[in-house]
Protein backbone atom coordinates (compact mmCIF):
# COMPACT_ATOMS: atom_id res chain seq x y z
CA UNK A 1 0.00 0.00 0.00
CA UNK A 2 1.39 3.29 -1.04
CA UNK A 3 0.38 5.27 2.02
CA UNK A 4 2.11 2.95 4.43
CA UNK A 5 5.50 4.41 3.88
CA UNK A 6 7.69 5.58 6.69
CA UNK A 7 6.59 9.18 6.31
CA UNK A 8 3.06 9.60 7.52
CA UNK A 9 3.05 13.26 8.23
CA UNK A 10 -0.09 14.26 6.38
CA UNK A 11 -3.44 14.10 8.11
CA UNK A 12 -4.59 10.65 9.02
CA UNK A 13 -8.10 11.40 7.89
CA UNK A 14 -6.93 11.88 4.34
CA UNK A 15 -4.71 8.83 4.44
CA UNK A 16 -7.49 6.77 5.97
CA UNK A 17 -9.96 7.89 3.34
CA UNK A 18 -7.54 6.97 0.59
CA UNK A 19 -7.44 3.42 1.86
CA UNK A 20 -10.83 1.80 2.20
CA UNK A 21 -9.32 -1.05 4.21
CA UNK A 22 -8.28 1.35 6.92
CA UNK A 23 -11.88 1.96 7.95
CA UNK A 24 -11.65 -1.41 9.56
CA UNK A 25 -9.50 -1.98 12.60
CA UNK A 26 -9.39 -5.60 11.51
CA UNK A 27 -9.89 -6.75 7.97
CA UNK A 28 -9.19 -10.43 7.52
CA UNK A 29 -10.08 -12.62 4.60
CA UNK A 30 -10.16 -16.38 4.71
CA UNK A 31 -7.65 -16.93 7.50
CA UNK A 32 -6.39 -20.49 7.43
CA UNK A 33 -4.17 -22.06 10.07
CA UNK A 34 -3.15 -25.63 9.43
CA UNK A 35 -0.58 -27.13 11.79
CA UNK A 36 2.15 -29.35 10.44
CA UNK A 37 0.40 -32.41 11.86
CA UNK A 38 -2.52 -31.61 9.58
CA UNK A 39 -4.80 -30.13 12.26
CA UNK A 40 -6.88 -27.39 10.67
CA UNK A 41 -7.29 -25.06 13.64
CA UNK A 42 -8.76 -22.17 11.64
CA UNK A 43 -10.64 -22.81 8.41
CA UNK A 44 -11.30 -19.76 6.31
CA UNK A 45 -12.32 -17.18 8.90
CA UNK A 46 -13.47 -13.79 7.57
CA UNK A 47 -13.48 -10.87 9.97
CA UNK A 48 -14.31 -7.21 9.45
CA UNK A 49 -14.26 -5.18 12.61
CA UNK A 50 -14.98 -1.45 12.19
CA UNK A 51 -13.02 1.01 14.26
CA UNK A 52 -14.39 1.80 17.65
CA UNK A 53 -16.45 -1.36 17.87
CA UNK A 54 -16.60 -3.67 20.87
CA UNK A 55 -16.39 -6.97 19.06
CA UNK A 56 -16.78 -10.40 20.62
CA UNK A 57 -15.42 -13.72 19.48
CA UNK A 58 -17.36 -16.46 21.12
CA UNK A 59 -16.68 -20.16 21.14
CA UNK A 60 -15.90 -23.18 23.28
CA UNK A 61 -12.39 -24.31 24.22
CA UNK A 62 -10.48 -25.53 21.22
CA UNK A 63 -12.73 -23.83 18.68
CA UNK A 64 -9.88 -21.73 17.31
CA UNK A 65 -10.37 -18.46 19.18
CA UNK A 66 -6.83 -18.12 20.49
CA UNK A 67 -5.28 -19.32 17.25
CA UNK A 68 -7.24 -16.70 15.33
CA UNK A 69 -6.37 -13.89 17.75
CA UNK A 70 -2.69 -14.84 17.51
CA UNK A 71 -2.76 -14.49 13.74
CA UNK A 72 -4.25 -11.02 14.16
CA UNK A 73 -1.59 -10.04 16.71
CA UNK A 74 1.34 -11.26 14.53
CA UNK A 75 2.23 -14.08 16.92
CA UNK A 76 1.27 -16.69 14.36
CA UNK A 77 1.52 -16.47 10.58
CA UNK A 78 -1.63 -17.77 8.96
CA UNK A 79 -1.03 -20.55 6.44
CA UNK A 80 -3.60 -18.94 4.18
CA UNK A 81 -5.60 -15.76 3.73
CA UNK A 82 -4.83 -12.07 4.14
CA UNK A 83 -4.93 -10.07 7.36
CA UNK A 84 -4.76 -6.30 7.72
CA UNK A 85 -4.75 -4.75 11.17
CA UNK A 86 -5.07 -0.97 11.48
CA UNK A 87 -4.33 -0.84 7.76
CA UNK A 88 -1.07 -2.80 8.02
CA UNK A 89 -0.46 -6.23 6.58
CA UNK A 90 0.49 -8.68 9.35
CA UNK A 91 2.84 -10.59 7.06
CA UNK A 92 4.80 -7.72 5.53
CA UNK A 93 4.55 -5.08 8.27
CA UNK A 94 4.38 -7.01 11.54
CA UNK A 95 6.24 -4.36 13.49
CA UNK A 96 3.81 -1.64 12.44
CA UNK A 97 0.97 -3.88 13.53
CA UNK A 98 2.66 -4.51 16.89
CA UNK A 99 3.11 -0.80 17.47
CA UNK A 100 -0.56 -0.15 16.87
CA UNK A 101 -2.17 -2.88 18.97
CA UNK A 102 -2.46 -3.91 22.57
CA UNK A 103 -2.58 -7.61 23.30
CA UNK A 104 -3.66 -9.32 26.48
CA UNK A 105 -2.99 -13.04 26.38
CA UNK A 106 -5.25 -15.67 27.84
CA UNK A 107 -2.69 -16.56 30.50
CA UNK A 108 -2.03 -13.59 32.76
CA UNK A 109 1.29 -12.11 31.68
CA UNK A 110 2.92 -9.90 34.26
CA UNK A 111 6.42 -10.02 35.69
CA UNK A 112 5.84 -11.15 39.29
CA UNK A 113 9.19 -9.80 40.42
CA UNK A 114 8.44 -6.27 39.33
CA UNK A 115 6.05 -3.89 41.03
CA UNK A 116 2.85 -2.78 39.35
CA UNK A 117 4.53 0.51 38.45
CA UNK A 118 7.63 -1.22 37.08
CA UNK A 119 5.53 -3.57 34.97
CA UNK A 120 3.78 -0.62 33.35
CA UNK A 121 7.07 1.25 33.09
CA UNK A 122 8.63 -1.67 31.20
CA UNK A 123 5.68 -1.75 28.82
CA UNK A 124 6.02 2.01 28.27
CA UNK A 125 9.63 1.56 27.28
CA UNK A 126 8.87 -1.51 25.16
CA UNK A 127 6.27 0.45 23.23
CA UNK A 128 8.35 3.58 22.96
CA UNK A 129 6.14 5.91 24.96
CA UNK A 130 8.07 9.20 24.97
CA UNK A 131 10.09 9.66 28.15
CA UNK A 132 8.35 12.87 29.11
CA UNK A 133 4.90 11.30 29.04
CA UNK A 134 5.71 8.10 30.87
CA UNK A 135 5.22 9.19 34.47
CA UNK A 136 1.83 10.69 33.77
CA UNK A 137 0.73 7.73 31.64
CA UNK A 138 1.75 5.26 34.34
CA UNK A 139 -0.23 7.07 37.02
CA UNK A 140 -3.21 7.31 34.74
CA UNK A 141 -3.16 3.57 34.00
CA UNK A 142 -2.63 2.66 37.65
CA UNK A 143 -5.77 4.67 38.38
CA UNK A 144 -7.71 3.13 35.53
CA UNK A 145 -6.73 -0.36 36.69
CA UNK A 146 -7.49 0.54 40.31
CA UNK A 147 -3.97 -0.32 41.39
CA UNK A 148 -2.74 3.08 42.51
CA UNK A 149 -2.68 1.98 46.17
CA UNK A 150 -0.48 -1.02 45.45
CA UNK A 151 1.68 0.58 42.76
CA UNK A 152 4.92 -0.12 44.64
CA UNK A 153 4.06 -3.70 45.54
CA UNK A 154 5.50 -6.62 43.60
CA UNK A 155 2.94 -8.25 41.34
CA UNK A 156 3.65 -11.60 42.97
CA UNK A 157 1.49 -10.53 45.92
CA UNK A 158 -1.51 -9.65 43.76
CA UNK A 159 -4.75 -11.58 43.46
CA UNK A 160 -5.75 -13.07 40.12
CA UNK A 161 -8.06 -10.16 39.38
CA UNK A 162 -5.40 -7.57 40.20
CA UNK A 163 -2.88 -9.30 37.98
CA UNK A 164 -5.40 -9.36 35.16
CA UNK A 165 -6.04 -5.63 35.55
CA UNK A 166 -2.33 -4.94 35.62
CA UNK A 167 -1.88 -7.08 32.53
CA UNK A 168 -4.60 -5.11 30.77
CA UNK A 169 -2.99 -1.82 31.82
CA UNK A 170 0.35 -2.86 30.31
CA UNK A 171 -1.43 -3.58 27.03
CA UNK A 172 -2.67 0.02 26.90
CA UNK A 173 0.47 2.06 27.60
CA UNK A 174 0.80 3.29 24.02
CA UNK A 175 -2.92 4.11 23.73
CA UNK A 176 -3.40 1.60 20.96
CA UNK A 177 -6.42 2.14 18.75
CA UNK A 178 -7.08 -1.61 18.90
CA UNK A 179 -6.86 -3.99 21.86
CA UNK A 180 -7.05 -7.77 21.79
CA UNK A 181 -8.34 -9.41 24.94
CA UNK A 182 -8.11 -13.20 24.92
CA UNK A 183 -10.54 -14.63 27.49
CA UNK A 184 -9.64 -11.89 29.95
CA UNK A 185 -12.03 -12.99 32.71
CA UNK A 186 -11.64 -16.77 32.64
CA UNK A 187 -11.09 -18.04 36.16
CA UNK A 188 -12.09 -14.83 37.92
CA UNK A 189 -14.77 -14.48 40.56
CA UNK A 190 -17.87 -12.48 39.60
CA UNK A 191 -16.76 -9.36 41.46
CA UNK A 192 -13.37 -9.27 39.77
CA UNK A 193 -15.06 -9.98 36.47
CA UNK A 194 -17.44 -7.06 36.85
CA UNK A 195 -14.57 -4.73 37.64
CA UNK A 196 -12.71 -5.77 34.52
CA UNK A 197 -15.85 -5.29 32.47
CA UNK A 198 -16.15 -1.71 33.70
CA UNK A 199 -12.56 -1.18 32.77
CA UNK A 200 -13.02 -2.53 29.24
CA UNK A 201 -16.15 -0.42 28.75
CA UNK A 202 -14.20 2.69 29.73
CA UNK A 203 -11.44 1.87 27.25
CA UNK A 204 -13.99 1.36 24.52
CA UNK A 205 -15.79 4.59 25.38
CA UNK A 206 -12.48 6.36 24.91
CA UNK A 207 -12.48 5.23 21.29
CA UNK A 208 -10.48 2.04 21.45
CA UNK A 209 -11.60 -0.83 19.28
CA UNK A 210 -11.85 -3.94 21.45
CA UNK A 211 -11.58 -7.50 20.17
CA UNK A 212 -12.57 -9.85 22.96
CA UNK A 213 -12.73 -13.63 22.97
CA UNK A 214 -14.84 -15.39 25.52
CA UNK A 215 -16.55 -18.65 26.34
CA UNK A 216 -19.26 -16.82 28.21
CA UNK A 217 -22.35 -15.68 26.41
CA UNK A 218 -23.14 -13.46 29.36
CA UNK A 219 -19.85 -11.62 28.95
CA UNK A 220 -20.41 -11.09 25.24
CA UNK A 221 -23.94 -9.98 26.03
CA UNK A 222 -22.76 -7.41 28.58
CA UNK A 223 -19.97 -5.90 26.54
CA UNK A 224 -20.13 -6.54 22.83
CA UNK A 225 -21.96 -4.62 20.16
CA UNK A 226 -21.44 -7.42 17.71
CA UNK A 227 -20.01 -10.89 17.90
CA UNK A 228 -19.07 -13.89 15.87
CA UNK A 229 -19.47 -17.45 17.03
CA UNK A 230 -16.69 -19.85 16.10
CA UNK A 231 -16.91 -23.63 16.14
CA UNK A 232 -14.31 -26.05 14.83
CA UNK A 233 -12.30 -23.26 13.26
CA UNK A 234 -15.20 -21.77 11.32
CA UNK A 235 -17.44 -18.83 11.99
CA UNK A 236 -20.95 -20.17 12.28
CA UNK A 237 -22.84 -17.00 13.15
CA UNK A 238 -22.29 -13.25 13.36
CA UNK A 239 -24.61 -10.68 14.84
CA UNK A 240 -25.60 -8.70 17.88
CA UNK A 241 -25.91 -10.59 21.19
CA UNK A 242 -29.67 -10.11 21.09
CA UNK A 243 -29.83 -11.38 17.56
CA UNK A 244 -27.98 -14.53 18.55
CA UNK A 245 -30.20 -15.07 21.53
CA UNK A 246 -33.21 -14.70 19.32
CA UNK A 247 -31.86 -17.57 17.32
CA UNK A 248 -32.10 -19.63 20.47
CA UNK A 249 -35.71 -18.52 20.66
CA UNK A 250 -35.94 -17.06 24.14
CA UNK A 251 -35.54 -18.37 27.66
CA UNK A 252 -35.43 -21.94 28.71
CA UNK A 253 -37.72 -23.77 31.12
CA UNK A 254 -36.42 -27.14 32.29
CA UNK A 255 -39.00 -29.36 33.97
CA UNK A 256 -38.20 -32.57 35.82
CA UNK A 257 -40.97 -35.12 35.97
CA UNK A 258 -41.64 -37.99 38.33
CA UNK A 259 -41.02 -41.30 36.59
CA UNK A 260 -44.04 -43.53 35.98
CA UNK A 261 -43.90 -47.30 36.62
CA UNK A 262 -44.48 -49.83 33.85
CA UNK A 263 -44.67 -47.41 30.98
CA UNK A 264 -42.88 -47.75 27.64
CA UNK A 265 -40.10 -45.22 27.26
CA UNK A 266 -40.99 -42.92 24.42
CA UNK A 267 -44.50 -44.41 24.20
CA UNK A 268 -47.61 -42.23 24.40
CA UNK A 269 -47.98 -42.99 28.11
CA UNK A 270 -44.47 -41.84 28.97
CA UNK A 271 -44.93 -38.81 31.27
CA UNK A 272 -42.38 -36.94 29.24
CA UNK A 273 -44.33 -37.40 26.04
CA UNK A 274 -47.56 -36.49 27.80
CA UNK A 275 -45.99 -33.36 29.24
CA UNK A 276 -44.62 -32.37 25.84
CA UNK A 277 -48.08 -32.77 24.40
CA UNK A 278 -49.52 -30.57 27.16
CA UNK A 279 -46.92 -27.88 26.49
CA UNK A 280 -47.83 -27.92 22.82
CA UNK A 281 -51.58 -28.00 23.26
CA UNK A 282 -52.02 -25.37 25.96
CA UNK A 283 -51.00 -22.52 23.63
CA UNK A 284 -49.29 -20.88 26.59
CA UNK A 285 -46.20 -19.98 24.66
CA UNK A 286 -45.68 -18.26 21.37
CA UNK A 287 -43.24 -20.10 19.12
CA UNK A 288 -42.09 -22.63 21.68
CA UNK A 289 -39.63 -25.44 21.08
CA UNK A 290 -40.33 -28.44 23.26
CA UNK A 291 -37.83 -31.22 23.72
CA UNK A 292 -37.81 -34.29 25.91
CA UNK A 293 -34.75 -34.79 28.10
CA UNK A 294 -33.52 -37.64 30.28
CA UNK A 295 -35.86 -36.86 33.14
CA UNK A 296 -38.38 -34.39 31.83
CA UNK A 297 -38.90 -31.73 29.18
CA UNK A 298 -37.31 -28.48 28.11
CA UNK A 299 -39.37 -25.62 26.74
CA UNK A 300 -37.61 -22.82 24.91
CA UNK A 301 -39.75 -19.73 24.39
CA UNK A 302 -39.49 -16.00 24.60
CA UNK A 303 -42.23 -15.91 27.22
CA UNK A 304 -41.03 -18.98 29.12
CA UNK A 305 -40.54 -16.92 32.26
CA UNK A 306 -43.94 -15.25 32.11
CA UNK A 307 -45.98 -18.39 31.48
CA UNK A 308 -43.82 -21.04 33.11
CA UNK A 309 -46.03 -21.34 36.19
CA UNK A 310 -49.13 -21.72 34.02
CA UNK A 311 -47.54 -24.75 32.39
CA UNK A 312 -46.77 -26.23 35.80
CA UNK A 313 -50.43 -25.85 36.75
CA UNK A 314 -51.52 -27.43 33.48
CA UNK A 315 -49.20 -30.38 34.08
CA UNK A 316 -50.62 -30.90 37.56
CA UNK A 317 -54.13 -30.83 36.14
CA UNK A 318 -53.06 -33.64 33.80
CA UNK A 319 -51.89 -35.62 36.82
CA UNK A 320 -48.20 -35.36 36.00
CA UNK A 321 -45.84 -35.09 38.97
CA UNK A 322 -43.34 -32.26 38.71
CA UNK A 323 -40.23 -32.91 40.85
CA UNK A 324 -38.24 -29.84 39.87
CA UNK A 325 -38.01 -26.91 37.47
CA UNK A 326 -35.66 -24.17 36.48
CA UNK A 327 -35.96 -21.10 34.27
CA UNK A 328 -32.76 -19.79 32.79
CA UNK A 329 -31.35 -17.46 30.17
CA UNK A 330 -29.85 -19.10 27.08
CA UNK A 331 -26.26 -20.16 27.57
CA UNK A 332 -23.50 -20.56 25.06
CA UNK A 333 -24.52 -24.19 24.86
CA UNK A 334 -28.04 -23.17 23.86
CA UNK A 335 -26.72 -20.79 21.21
CA UNK A 336 -24.56 -23.55 19.91
CA UNK A 337 -27.36 -26.00 19.98
CA UNK A 338 -29.54 -23.58 18.07
CA UNK A 339 -26.87 -22.70 15.52
CA UNK A 340 -24.99 -25.93 15.00
CA UNK A 341 -27.36 -28.52 16.39
CA UNK A 342 -24.55 -29.72 18.65
CA UNK A 343 -23.85 -29.34 22.32
CA UNK A 344 -20.61 -27.88 23.66
CA UNK A 345 -19.16 -28.44 27.09
CA UNK A 346 -20.62 -25.28 28.54
CA UNK A 347 -18.71 -24.21 31.59
CA UNK A 348 -20.84 -21.27 32.45
CA UNK A 349 -24.46 -21.62 33.30
CA UNK A 350 -26.18 -18.33 33.85
CA UNK A 351 -28.71 -20.32 35.80
CA UNK A 352 -31.58 -18.65 37.49
CA UNK A 353 -32.71 -21.18 40.05
CA UNK A 354 -36.30 -21.18 41.21
CA UNK A 355 -37.19 -23.30 44.19
CA UNK A 356 -40.09 -25.63 43.43
Amino acid sequence: MSQDTTRRTDGVGAAGAADAGHEYAIDAERIEVTYSDGTRAVRGVDLQVPRGEFFGFLGPNGAGKTTTIKTLATLLSPTGGAVRVNGFDVASEPRKVRESIGYMAQETSVDPELTARENIQFACEAYGVPRGERAERIDELLDLADLADVAEKEADEFSGGMKKRLDAATALVHRPPLVFLDEPTTGLDPKARNRLWDYFRRINEQGTTVFLTTQYLEEADQLCERLSVIADGEIVATGSPDGLKRRVGGEILDIELAAAEGVDTGGPDDPRERAAAVAHETDLFADATVETTADGITVTARDARAHGTDLLVALRDEGLGVTGFNIRAPTLDDVFLAITGEHVDAEDEAADEVAP
Binding site: V12, P78, A123, A126, Y127, T170
Partner: protein, 297 residues
Protein backbone atom coordinates in the same frame (compact mmCIF):
# COMPACT_ATOMS: atom_id res chain seq x y z
CA UNK B 1 -5.21 11.91 29.34
CA UNK B 2 -5.30 14.61 26.78
CA UNK B 3 -8.12 13.62 24.45
CA UNK B 4 -9.88 10.53 25.63
CA UNK B 5 -13.41 11.70 26.23
CA UNK B 6 -13.90 12.97 22.72
CA UNK B 7 -13.66 9.34 21.78
CA UNK B 8 -14.71 7.97 18.43
CA UNK B 9 -12.68 7.47 15.36
CA UNK B 10 -10.61 10.60 15.30
CA UNK B 11 -9.24 10.01 18.77
CA UNK B 12 -8.37 6.45 17.87
CA UNK B 13 -6.76 7.58 14.65
CA UNK B 14 -4.73 10.22 16.43
CA UNK B 15 -3.63 7.65 18.97
CA UNK B 16 -2.54 5.32 16.19
CA UNK B 17 -0.69 8.03 14.38
CA UNK B 18 0.86 9.31 17.57
CA UNK B 19 2.07 5.88 18.59
CA UNK B 20 3.60 5.27 15.17
CA UNK B 21 5.34 8.58 15.04
CA UNK B 22 6.59 8.40 18.62
CA UNK B 23 7.97 4.94 18.11
CA UNK B 24 10.80 6.19 15.97
CA UNK B 25 12.41 7.33 19.24
CA UNK B 26 12.92 3.69 20.21
CA UNK B 27 16.25 2.51 18.91
CA UNK B 28 18.01 -0.82 18.96
CA UNK B 29 20.17 0.36 21.84
CA UNK B 30 17.09 1.67 23.61
CA UNK B 31 15.53 -1.78 23.44
CA UNK B 32 18.76 -3.35 24.72
CA UNK B 33 18.76 -0.91 27.63
CA UNK B 34 15.10 -1.55 28.46
CA UNK B 35 15.70 -5.29 28.75
CA UNK B 36 19.05 -4.86 30.48
CA UNK B 37 17.31 -2.81 33.16
CA UNK B 38 14.47 -5.28 33.55
CA UNK B 39 16.78 -8.25 34.11
CA UNK B 40 19.00 -6.37 36.52
CA UNK B 41 15.93 -5.34 38.47
CA UNK B 42 14.77 -8.94 38.55
CA UNK B 43 18.18 -10.10 39.79
CA UNK B 44 18.09 -7.59 42.62
CA UNK B 45 14.48 -8.46 43.47
CA UNK B 46 15.19 -12.13 43.61
CA UNK B 47 18.30 -12.50 45.75
CA UNK B 48 17.75 -16.24 45.58
CA UNK B 49 19.19 -16.28 42.06
CA UNK B 50 22.21 -14.29 43.16
CA UNK B 51 22.80 -16.28 46.31
CA UNK B 52 22.28 -19.75 44.92
CA UNK B 53 24.89 -19.32 42.24
CA UNK B 54 27.33 -17.93 44.83
CA UNK B 55 26.72 -20.19 47.82
CA UNK B 56 27.99 -23.44 46.38
CA UNK B 57 31.20 -21.95 44.98
CA UNK B 58 31.86 -20.19 48.30
CA UNK B 59 31.34 -23.44 50.20
CA UNK B 60 33.78 -25.10 47.81
CA UNK B 61 36.29 -22.32 48.24
CA UNK B 62 36.22 -22.42 52.04
CA UNK B 63 35.98 -26.20 52.47
CA UNK B 64 38.51 -27.13 49.83
CA UNK B 65 41.13 -24.68 51.04
CA UNK B 66 40.60 -25.65 54.69
CA UNK B 67 40.25 -29.42 54.22
CA UNK B 68 42.53 -30.17 51.28
CA UNK B 69 44.76 -27.11 51.47
CA UNK B 70 47.72 -28.68 53.20
CA UNK B 71 47.59 -31.95 51.28
CA UNK B 72 46.87 -30.42 47.89
CA UNK B 73 49.50 -27.77 48.39
CA UNK B 74 52.16 -30.45 48.13
CA UNK B 75 51.01 -31.36 44.61
CA UNK B 76 51.46 -27.80 43.44
CA UNK B 77 54.62 -26.61 41.80
CA UNK B 78 56.79 -23.82 43.05
CA UNK B 79 55.30 -22.92 46.42
CA UNK B 80 51.94 -21.69 45.14
CA UNK B 81 49.36 -21.69 47.92
CA UNK B 82 46.27 -23.81 47.33
CA UNK B 83 44.14 -20.71 47.90
CA UNK B 84 45.77 -18.98 44.96
CA UNK B 85 45.51 -22.15 42.90
CA UNK B 86 41.83 -22.67 43.70
CA UNK B 87 40.44 -19.14 43.34
CA UNK B 88 40.46 -19.15 39.49
CA UNK B 89 38.62 -22.50 39.52
CA UNK B 90 35.98 -21.11 41.86
CA UNK B 91 35.61 -18.06 39.60
CA UNK B 92 34.86 -20.42 36.71
CA UNK B 93 32.49 -22.41 38.91
CA UNK B 94 30.57 -19.20 39.58
CA UNK B 95 30.36 -18.55 35.84
CA UNK B 96 29.02 -22.02 35.30
CA UNK B 97 26.43 -21.78 38.08
CA UNK B 98 25.33 -18.30 37.06
CA UNK B 99 25.04 -19.27 33.41
CA UNK B 100 22.44 -21.86 34.35
CA UNK B 101 20.20 -19.11 35.69
CA UNK B 102 20.08 -17.54 32.23
CA UNK B 103 18.12 -20.49 30.88
CA UNK B 104 16.01 -20.59 34.02
CA UNK B 105 15.14 -16.93 33.53
CA UNK B 106 14.03 -17.69 29.98
CA UNK B 107 11.90 -20.65 31.07
CA UNK B 108 10.26 -18.51 33.76
CA UNK B 109 9.57 -15.83 31.19
CA UNK B 110 7.95 -18.39 28.92
CA UNK B 111 5.88 -19.79 31.79
CA UNK B 112 4.83 -16.35 33.04
CA UNK B 113 3.79 -15.21 29.57
CA UNK B 114 6.36 -12.40 29.57
CA UNK B 115 8.13 -14.06 26.65
CA UNK B 116 5.04 -13.76 24.47
CA UNK B 117 4.37 -10.29 25.79
CA UNK B 118 7.80 -9.21 24.58
CA UNK B 119 7.26 -10.90 21.23
CA UNK B 120 4.03 -9.04 20.61
CA UNK B 121 5.74 -5.74 21.41
CA UNK B 122 7.56 -3.81 18.68
CA UNK B 123 10.95 -4.28 20.38
CA UNK B 124 13.77 -5.66 18.30
CA UNK B 125 14.13 -9.31 19.26
CA UNK B 126 17.90 -9.42 19.02
CA UNK B 127 18.01 -6.42 21.34
CA UNK B 128 15.72 -8.22 23.78
CA UNK B 129 18.10 -11.16 24.17
CA UNK B 130 21.18 -8.99 24.06
CA UNK B 131 19.87 -6.89 26.95
CA UNK B 132 19.06 -9.98 28.99
CA UNK B 133 22.45 -11.57 28.34
CA UNK B 134 24.32 -8.38 29.16
CA UNK B 135 22.55 -8.18 32.51
CA UNK B 136 23.62 -11.75 33.21
CA UNK B 137 27.22 -11.10 32.20
CA UNK B 138 27.33 -8.07 34.48
CA UNK B 139 26.07 -10.23 37.32
CA UNK B 140 28.72 -12.90 36.61
CA UNK B 141 31.50 -10.29 36.60
CA UNK B 142 30.27 -8.93 39.95
CA UNK B 143 29.99 -12.38 41.45
CA UNK B 144 33.53 -13.22 40.36
CA UNK B 145 34.58 -9.96 42.00
CA UNK B 146 33.04 -11.15 45.27
CA UNK B 147 34.88 -14.48 44.99
CA UNK B 148 38.18 -12.72 44.35
CA UNK B 149 37.77 -10.49 47.40
CA UNK B 150 36.90 -13.51 49.50
CA UNK B 151 39.81 -15.48 48.05
CA UNK B 152 42.28 -12.73 48.86
CA UNK B 153 40.84 -12.56 52.37
CA UNK B 154 41.54 -16.29 52.70
CA UNK B 155 45.12 -15.82 51.58
CA UNK B 156 45.08 -16.05 47.78
CA UNK B 157 47.47 -13.82 45.95
CA UNK B 158 46.66 -12.14 42.64
CA UNK B 159 50.10 -11.59 41.16
CA UNK B 160 48.79 -9.32 38.45
CA UNK B 161 46.86 -7.07 40.83
CA UNK B 162 43.71 -5.17 39.93
CA UNK B 163 44.30 -5.55 36.19
CA UNK B 164 44.55 -9.29 36.79
CA UNK B 165 41.29 -9.27 38.75
CA UNK B 166 39.53 -7.58 35.85
CA UNK B 167 41.17 -10.11 33.52
CA UNK B 168 39.88 -13.02 35.60
CA UNK B 169 36.38 -11.56 35.51
CA UNK B 170 36.72 -11.19 31.73
CA UNK B 171 37.87 -14.82 31.45
CA UNK B 172 34.85 -15.87 33.51
CA UNK B 173 32.51 -13.89 31.27
CA UNK B 174 34.08 -15.33 28.14
CA UNK B 175 33.82 -18.79 29.61
CA UNK B 176 30.20 -18.33 30.70
CA UNK B 177 28.90 -17.50 27.23
CA UNK B 178 28.90 -21.06 25.92
CA UNK B 179 27.08 -22.31 28.98
CA UNK B 180 24.60 -19.44 28.81
CA UNK B 181 23.93 -20.46 25.22
CA UNK B 182 23.63 -24.06 26.32
CA UNK B 183 21.19 -23.33 29.16
CA UNK B 184 19.03 -21.18 26.86
CA UNK B 185 18.96 -23.97 24.30
CA UNK B 186 17.87 -26.37 27.04
CA UNK B 187 15.24 -23.86 28.13
CA UNK B 188 13.74 -23.58 24.66
CA UNK B 189 13.84 -27.34 24.14
CA UNK B 190 12.34 -28.37 27.48
CA UNK B 191 10.29 -25.25 28.26
CA UNK B 192 10.34 -26.57 31.77
CA UNK B 193 12.14 -25.12 34.76
CA UNK B 194 12.96 -28.37 36.56
CA UNK B 195 14.35 -30.11 33.49
CA UNK B 196 16.53 -27.11 32.71
CA UNK B 197 17.89 -26.93 36.26
CA UNK B 198 18.46 -30.66 36.53
CA UNK B 199 20.12 -31.02 33.14
CA UNK B 200 22.38 -28.04 33.70
CA UNK B 201 23.27 -29.02 37.27
CA UNK B 202 23.94 -32.64 36.43
CA UNK B 203 26.62 -31.47 34.04
CA UNK B 204 28.21 -29.07 36.51
CA UNK B 205 30.04 -31.49 38.80
CA UNK B 206 31.56 -33.80 36.17
CA UNK B 207 32.64 -30.73 34.23
CA UNK B 208 34.34 -29.23 37.27
CA UNK B 209 36.00 -32.34 38.63
CA UNK B 210 37.15 -33.72 35.28
CA UNK B 211 39.21 -30.64 34.55
CA UNK B 212 42.24 -28.81 35.80
CA UNK B 213 40.04 -26.99 38.36
CA UNK B 214 40.95 -28.59 41.67
CA UNK B 215 44.27 -30.37 41.22
CA UNK B 216 47.10 -30.30 38.70
CA UNK B 217 46.28 -32.76 35.95
CA UNK B 218 49.66 -34.51 36.32
CA UNK B 219 48.54 -35.84 39.68
CA UNK B 220 45.32 -37.29 38.22
CA UNK B 221 44.67 -40.56 36.32
CA UNK B 222 45.27 -40.66 32.59
CA UNK B 223 41.63 -40.92 31.56
CA UNK B 224 40.82 -37.75 33.48
CA UNK B 225 43.60 -35.98 31.63
CA UNK B 226 42.03 -37.10 28.35
CA UNK B 227 38.58 -35.90 29.38
CA UNK B 228 40.05 -32.67 30.74
CA UNK B 229 41.57 -31.91 27.37
CA UNK B 230 38.08 -31.98 25.81
CA UNK B 231 36.48 -30.14 28.73
CA UNK B 232 35.83 -26.40 28.27
CA UNK B 233 36.23 -25.86 32.03
CA UNK B 234 39.93 -26.68 31.70
CA UNK B 235 40.40 -23.79 29.27
CA UNK B 236 38.42 -21.37 31.39
CA UNK B 237 40.28 -22.32 34.56
CA UNK B 238 43.67 -22.29 32.83
CA UNK B 239 43.02 -18.83 31.43
CA UNK B 240 42.00 -17.46 34.83
CA UNK B 241 44.88 -19.26 36.52
CA UNK B 242 47.44 -17.97 34.05
CA UNK B 243 46.27 -14.48 34.93
CA UNK B 244 46.34 -14.93 38.71
CA UNK B 245 49.82 -16.55 38.60
CA UNK B 246 51.11 -14.63 35.61
CA UNK B 247 52.50 -17.91 34.26
CA UNK B 248 51.96 -20.52 31.56
CA UNK B 249 49.83 -23.12 33.33
CA UNK B 250 48.25 -24.99 30.46
CA UNK B 251 49.21 -28.67 30.35
CA UNK B 252 46.47 -30.22 28.22
CA UNK B 253 47.81 -28.92 24.97
CA UNK B 254 51.38 -27.91 24.63
CA UNK B 255 51.61 -24.73 22.65
CA UNK B 256 54.76 -22.76 22.62
CA UNK B 257 53.80 -19.64 20.80
CA UNK B 258 56.92 -17.99 21.95
CA UNK B 259 55.07 -15.26 23.78
CA UNK B 260 56.37 -16.68 26.99
CA UNK B 261 54.56 -16.74 30.32
CA UNK B 262 50.83 -16.31 30.72
CA UNK B 263 50.18 -15.56 27.05
CA UNK B 264 51.18 -19.09 26.08
CA UNK B 265 48.14 -20.22 28.06
CA UNK B 266 45.85 -17.29 27.40
CA UNK B 267 46.01 -17.26 23.63
CA UNK B 268 45.05 -20.90 23.06
CA UNK B 269 42.53 -20.87 25.93
CA UNK B 270 40.78 -17.75 24.66
CA UNK B 271 40.79 -19.17 21.11
CA UNK B 272 39.16 -22.41 22.27
CA UNK B 273 36.57 -20.58 24.38
CA UNK B 274 35.75 -18.12 21.60
CA UNK B 275 35.23 -20.95 19.13
CA UNK B 276 33.01 -22.74 21.63
CA UNK B 277 31.04 -19.57 22.39
CA UNK B 278 30.45 -18.96 18.71
CA UNK B 279 29.41 -22.55 18.00
CA UNK B 280 26.97 -22.87 20.91
CA UNK B 281 25.89 -19.26 20.49
CA UNK B 282 24.87 -20.05 16.93
CA UNK B 283 22.84 -23.05 18.13
CA UNK B 284 21.13 -20.93 20.78
CA UNK B 285 20.36 -18.15 18.30
CA UNK B 286 18.88 -20.71 15.92
CA UNK B 287 16.78 -22.22 18.71
CA UNK B 288 15.63 -18.80 19.91
CA UNK B 289 14.68 -17.58 16.48
CA UNK B 290 12.73 -20.79 16.03
CA UNK B 291 10.98 -20.16 19.32
CA UNK B 292 10.21 -16.55 18.47
CA UNK B 293 9.13 -17.19 14.90
CA UNK B 294 5.47 -16.88 14.08
CA UNK B 295 5.63 -19.83 11.70
CA UNK B 296 2.91 -22.39 12.19
CA UNK B 297 4.18 -25.77 13.26
Amino acid sequence: MSTPTEGSETAAATAAEGATAERSANSFLGDVWTNFKRWNLKAVRNPFVLVVSLVQPIIFLVLFTQVFGTVAGGALPGGISYETYLVPAIAIQVSLAAAVTSGIGLVNDIEEGMFEKVLVSPMNRTAVFLGKTMAELLRIALQIGIILVLGVALGAEITTGVVGAVGIAAAGVLFSLWFIAFSNTLAVLTRDQESTIIAANLLQFPLLFLSSAFLPLESLPGWIRTVAMLNPVTYGVDAARAIILDADVMTVIDVSLGYGGALDTLVPAVAVLLALDLALGAVAVAMLSRATSSKVR
